[in-house]
Amino acid sequence: MTKRIAMAQLTSCWGCDQSLLDLHLGLLEVLPELEIVFWPAVVDFKIKDLESMPDESIHIGLVEGSCRTEDDVRLLNLMRAKSKILVAWGVCSCYGGIQGLANQWELDELVDRKFMKADTVTDPRIPSENVPAFVPQVRPNVDVVKFNILLPGCPPTSKNIVEALAAILTGKPFDLPEKSVCDQCPKVKQDKHITKFHRSHEGRIDPSKCLLDQGYLCLGFATIGFCGAICPTVNSPCKGCFGPVLRVKDHGAKIVSALGAIAEMEPEQLKDSFPDPIGSFYFTDYAASYLSRMRDKARSKKK
């Protein structure tokens, strides 16, 4: 029996979608098991088709992206209502994604920069016809509706996606790994004596050794080990794009905690090494941080 599946995109980059397509020949094995009932990227179904389905008539609902507009919120709720198993597909869906970094600013500052002050804009105006209103801040989708499965990653690898689908199709539980990226990383780890942090473009990298040991801010220790250590394998420090290791509530706080313990330098020097801790410690999950939630509360209070 084929299972009915729907894939919906809220505000996103479509990379999660591409990651599914990147199964390539693997698609030919997966597709026959699935009856696609909604997938705007590939199939001509419309929102009204989704609306007309009975509740819980979709076996698997994958939601990519996060809510930046009221339409996104509507589609998210619709997907929840129609799906039996709802999957937070990618880090946008789980933790807000990179666009959560916009929560550092007020909506009018964002809109102003984009539509009124952009260098090449010749006739500034804020679009208002046939477009949904923006929501004041990006929230993790899991704060809006209940999800059955979290599938973090930016994007989750094709392998991650197929493993999750296989588990759902066979009725097995799908558990996220307890491991961190460091546990998956091939680099040789030694004692840490970090007396200075290097920026990712600086100096000569020893490809055999742990990047953090060499003084690069590699966030593998704080990040869920699900990608197979993609970045450190190619000498690029992990930016934490899959979100925190299991049960860590605040990715940045975990990183601050570790840096305070391992950096052999004066606190002021440590602080000066990271002029943008939010961008450095909360690459794709700022919306899920305590600080962003605080700002969210402060905003709702102002209104």
Binding site: K254, V256, L259, G260, L291, K297
Partner: protein
């Protein structure tokens, strides 16, 4: 989540509860709610001393005793602010005196980064404060609390505070 926090509440915190529940109606009669993480070996003893010697101390503080400031996870501090604390005070042993050698120094580094994160997120870094007070320094502790309260009164309520 790391443990190491004992949720006991005595000493300087004991008189605080009733006034704490009062709503901060306006900036004028704003009574800050401050959470203090005190190291068991020095500051907590100092706080105790301050309490038993009945020094005047603002009643706005709740104290959580920890084994060492090195065990105060940055997420506890952020969580406290998110739950509406107007300020968070961390009080530990003087450098060199930490029972676990360097817990307080780790805290100092974390604290520097945390202040920076708060600032970038649009909150006053002064909402969190780190001080050193030994077991014998009940007065230093009290003074720390008093000036913390002053500082937070000047800042006004935590914008994320619900009431």
């Amino acid at each position: 989540m790391p443990t190491g926090v004992t949720n006991s509440l005595t000493a300087a915190g004991h008189k605080a509860t009733s006034s704490q529940r009062q709503k901060a109606r306006g900036e004028k009669d704003f009574e800050p709610r401050i959470l203090a993480f005190c190291c068991n070996w020095c500051s907590y003893a100092g706080a105790d001393l301050a309490g038993t010697s009945r020094r005047q101390m603002p009643p706005n503080v709740r104290i959580i005793r920890v084994n060492c400031t090195g065990r105060v996870d940055p997420s506890f501090i952020l969580d406290a602010l998110n739950q509406g604390a107007d300020g968070v005070l961390i009080s530990g042993c003087h450098p060199g005196d930490c029972h676990y050698t360097s817990g307080n120094l780790k805290m100092k580094s974390r604290f520097a980064l945390l202040q920076k994160v708060l600032e970038e997120a649009g909150f006053e870094p002064e909402r969190i404060h780190l001080q050193w007070a030994s077991a014998a320094e009940g007065d230093v502790f009290t003074e720390g609390i008093t000036s913390m309260v002053e500082r937070i009164k000047a800042l006004g309520p935590n914008p994320a505070r619900k009431d």
